[in-house]
Amino acid sequence: MTGHDHEHEHAHTPIASGDEPAAAARVRALEELLVEKGAIRVEDVRQRIDWLVSRSPADGARLVARAWIDPEFKERLLADARSAALELGLDPGPSPVVVALENTATVHHLVVCTLCSCYPKALLGPPPDWYKSLPYRSRAVSDPRGVLAEFGVALADDVELRVVDSTADIRYLVIPRRPAGTEALDEEELSALVTRDSMIGVAHASRVETMSPPAYPPFSS
């Protein structure tokens, strides 16, 4: 590690290369500076990224599936989702408060972070790109029924739509409704119906007939 309090007479490696987006170049420049000044280490960044990409919606889906089959667990999940995750051996993440929001026949929840991209990453994995986009972040609060329609969700007029803007330290996770015709499924089969989008609130849980993996198009040379 060399100090960097000298005059800038030497040439740095070019910050941006070719088609690198400006935001990516800015982040890379910041990371290089923070490493150079000893504020963080490259290994810390790599560890954080490895943790993030090791998380997946499968963990959140386990919470939901258990709540569907166990009413007492559902009560505990609604009271304190962080403790409920720990009860299943899941990592609820660094946020001290995690809140589960239950969708019912008359109430539908939709989660957004208008200020940045707050998201229950420990239980859902990295957020989708659209979740971080300005159009989603602005329209999810001002025109949520329009946004849901674009995701293919048509809410009945008598359903109360509750948009939750996660503006601070709390992380929110939606418990979608259990689909009809799933009485015979076990917990693992049920968890396969719980998609990432359904836990953000932009979709319902999958129906049973869509459970098999999507077919790939025929391979042609």
Binding site: V141, L161, T167
Partner: protein, 93 residues
Amino acid sequence: MRYRTGQRVRVDSRTHQGHHRTPGYLKGKTGTIERVHASFPNPETCAYGADGSPKQPLYLVGFAQRDVWPGYSGRGADRLYADVFEHWLEDAE
């Protein structure tokens, strides 16, 4: 904790130079305390390297969508919730 669940509160409409976590679209709007979360480090000083003390109480505040957006096109019962720190709230009862 100054507020309790069910109390009517108004989000302060002051401007604030620098980082803060109160969405501009809610400033000046009146809602209801839905949950009393806990106290958290103040993001307005955390953002500049401080430890965020003293911690600030955080509330989930619920609003009628029609109170937030005068031209709201959804249903009348639709609601919007956001987490707001106590020092951004004032009594509206």
